[in-house]
Symmetry: D2
Subunit: 338 residues, 4 copies
């Protein structure tokens, strides 16, 4: 950590800062520049970074040097992590192809969709039983009834299933039915939920918050890892921006950006990122080429009658065509569809 002092800081201020650093168990290393004095703080920065050093008189800025996450970092774990979801591998060369409707609506609808996406090559089935909806008047999901349908349909088509959990009180229930928890964008910093999930033994699909930085996302993963659960798959699903012709802005560079500093797998969800079915195929192809560990796509057999987010779903036939492209690209970039 580096502390930059204000111009004309007094010797008393400098002494006070050095004393404070030493009280906290660190060593201070002064460096007198032409216009500024800087103090290097030597010791375990992770213990220091939460201290309010910037509040001390005479301090202009405090510059952290190290990344604030540990268990999620490449320095801690150099090789790519592979997360096992049921019998499917995600990461380390294996692609998780997650597909399904936004919400679970009925056995029949889910069964039809699952059969088609499985045939197209999807290897994990998704569907929401608890839906985070902006409006209290919108369909909120089927709850446990939906979870049962998901489990049955997943078993029938031999696909592991992933579904969202929104409330720490639902964790136990969802744990009984799902192969993988999903934490949605709106809950990426719901820290009590992260801790609760961190105490289970199920893999987690952690979606990026609507305006979370890559570092924020890794810090949320760190919560889960630090609670004891090592199986986190990150998911880029776009962030809020000024662009008004897409639902969110897909930050494709988060894929190599995460990989540069973390060993965790990361997949891309172009459905929520763009909100436009006409852009999903192009963005799915780009995701695989960018090095993502999978693609998450909403598919519905009759989008105009779906109970949630139908307007952004692909039709099964469109998904089938897309998967054929993705298989060719996977080969070029040396990946296997788990």
């Amino acid at each position: 950590m580096i502390i930059v002092l204000r111009p004309r800081s007094t010797p008393e201020q400098i002494d006070h800062i050095v004393k404070r650093i030493e009280e906290l168990g660190f060593k201070a290393h002064l460096s007198q520049g032409e216009l500024r004095t800087i103090i290097g703080v030597i010791g375990d920065e992770s213990k220091l970074q939460m201290e309010p050093l910037a509040a001390i008189a005479g301090v202009e800025q405090v510059l952290p040097i190290l990344k604030p996450f540990k268990l999620a970092s490449r320095e801690f774990h150099a090789a790519d992590s592979v997360v096992q979801v049921g019998k499917i591998k995600v990461g380390g060369g294996y692609l998780g192809m997650i597909a399904g409707p936004c919400a679970i609506e009925s056995y029949e609808v889910l069964d039809e969709i699952a059969g088609k996406v499985r045939a197209a090559g999807a290897n994990i089935l998704r569907g929401g039983a608890f839906k985070p909806r902006t409006s209290p008047y919108s369909f909120q999901g089927l709850g446990e009834k939906g979870l049962k349908i998901l489990r049955e349909v997943g078993d029938k088509h031999d696909m592991p299933v992933v579904t969202e959990v929104m409330d720490p009180r639902q964790v136990e229930l969802v744990d009984r039915y799902a192969d993988m928890f999903q934490i949605g964008a709106r809950n990426m910093q719901n820290f009590d939920l992260l801790k609760e999930i961190g105490q289970t033994r199920r893999p987690v699909l952690l979606k990026r918050g609507m305006s979370a930085t890559v570092k924020d996302m890794l810090m949320s993963a760190e919560y889960i890892l630090a609670s004891g659960n090592p199986d986190v798959v990150l998911c880029e699903r776009g962030v809020r921006s000024f662009e008004d012709s897409t639902r969110n802005m897909l930050d494709m560079s988060s894929v190599p950006n995460v990989k540069a500093s973390s060993h965790l797998p990361i997949i891309v969800d172009p459905s929520h990122a763009t909100g436009r079915p006409d852009l999903i195929p192009s963005m799915s192809r780009a995701s695989v080429a960018a090095g993502a560990d999978g693609v998450h796509v909403e598919v519905h057999s009759c989008p105009e009658k779906s109970l949630s987010d139908g307007a952004q779903a692909l039709l099964p036939a469109q998904y089938t065509a897309l998967m054929s492209d993705l298989r060719r690209l996977a080969e070029v970039v040396g990946k296997t569809i788990g």
Copy 2:
């Protein structure tokens, strides 16, 4: 609701759309333009807005006409709402001046700060017992021990108290100690928490999410109102932006913007919005002049030793000077410090 069709949409497509609208219990009203056909949908739009009409073949865009919130709207309740927090009024001409440390650290520290902010004119005491921290390794708050301290100190200085609740499972506990719940920015769309709080009879300070639009914030308030709790005070605390010299970007225009479409009170938190003590006084003055119903300021007697966010707190003496300015401005804009 207005449905705009694609150029060259076929008569069959138009028929299908009209039929779908009528099936849903609405009337369709066609209007043939030079290059586009549009369909006005007549009926209770709030029931329609969640339907995936945009997914129907031939539809280019769907334009909602009405606001999606009701109980929070000025059309539903024309006069400014006044929310009672203990014996203090917020809204309708009364200013809620909330002050206190970020986190509750000890009885002594809180007591000292409370005495000073009370003397300066603050009328509601704040302090966090459950802290949402980006890092799992940071101080997470004193929990129930903190709540007890807050209650005692509030009673001693005759100030109602507000404190954050992060988890639906904490609601009952916090309800026993606090006069007002705070929902933090990261939980603005934690819908289960909103519903849980909506079932209590305590006023709520609902902070704007990091990248929530004004409409999103009002929709979250709608969740609480729709669950039966009418006492919501909104709080502008800045949003994420590209500007890197302040912690967030204070969207001051949200104050008149909220008032244009809602009856709910709105206060401003310049501490989190700017993250810079040197900008807090100016932004507090601007908030009162903009018509805010109060100002929320973090105050700490020794910021450099605070356990959370010390670098953005005002010193008690700075707060006292600020309150003297705010009283003069309140007079000019015709407001009373409750």
Copy 3:
């Protein structure tokens, strides 16, 4: 265009609006909803869209139906445009692979870089002679001397050359040396420059502004097209965002988004978009897979001694490896490197 009236708008207000629409040569088509009256305006919307109809008493909002650009639209020109840069084609299945240093520094340095990128497969050489620099104290480019070097080196290696023009007064000079003009992000809405370039017969590489929407970018292209120059290639180079670990946020979805509504070619510049050499290869691969018509990469043989933006350049050897990947991907997506 659709005009939505406020609730409780009076018959006199409605009459006034209808009269105003008719005065402007349009027809008004009323539609009475349950809570709102809407007026469809029938006629050539492009002439209407600049009228301040929203300022009329009783109007709540004005919703345009048509896109405001014409010559740039797919409706005007259905097939993909192919832009000829020297003997190289960009668009319609042909990839423009633009490479070179940020600034032209000397004949020797440019010659060395050009030889290497040409051998790797680049087909257009870039280099700046007039540099837009945030600081007045930074290197501002070699001016005409740089243009001469660029021309000579381009000719030697048989590559057409592209270079930035910042000022309408430079257009004539640059026109004498370059095969393609570049308009930088900061000048995307320098309308006098757009008009001046629109009067030449040279192709233009138009970079997206730092916070321009896709529609804004197409409107700027429209300026050039409307001035008589049809040869515009768009360039996605990232936009400003809150993410602080990359220089900008690469909006990869702008590639299919542009193609959905325009016939103009679009390429991607991952160098400026990310500012990080370690992310450039991944983002270049993703661009080709996304359907971009080319990739623009900064390459420098000694980044640590470059006079501008060295920290984001690839080394020639890295570029050579990247081009080998891109050739394989181009084949998969059915594109030819022109």
Copy 4:
């Protein structure tokens, strides 16, 4: 400047960096931390900051310590600057109240508006003769004819006049008619225009770019100052954001933020910042309370017939009421309306 090295950087890499720093005429000061080595670079940082040190092997990040602007900084000029516009003072306790229509449309319309805003207390008249319009098909301004009208009307009502200049080739012409140049948001980084204006002796109203940081804005001011013109007034006019209910997001904190690091006056333009007449009065009051050196408001006597941006203009009567509020607030904050 501080250079942070990667973990496991080699002694050879460190030697190379130190040598490079010394070659550039600086001194290197090593500091060995537990996990990272950092190098403090001692010497005139402004000369160093443009060097591509981050491109050297072994370097993880380069952290500048000093602000990159000089002439615009408070360290260079401690007291608030006062800019003289005709006989009106702006800054240092004097408020510039700029009002007028978006575009100059005719002598009659401008004369009527000027008479009313002058009577209300405005002290500088605005009006555009060259208009930057997103669409090439929109009204582009009256050009020199407009400038003549502006001059005549300004003289008649004894008000100095400000008008936009968009092209370096217009500077001489506009200089003959105006008392103050305006540089619009889209041209904030049109560096050739900044340099050209920097060579005149007229004050400049420099508007913040659509996604410019406060530092970017001060760097653009630095261009003008470094070219020899000291009379720059900054203008906050909102920035691009995800919020879709206002045209831009007014960053009110830029007012004290600029004042913390610069001596230049800064005014606020709530018309462009919000795009909503109903929010302008509240935001104008907030601006004065925040410490702005003036307010820029668009006023039109018949917004529905204005040729540009009518929907965001106040009516003269609304402006008169607003000015009465602003005079009371000016008194409270100790300012004089020049």
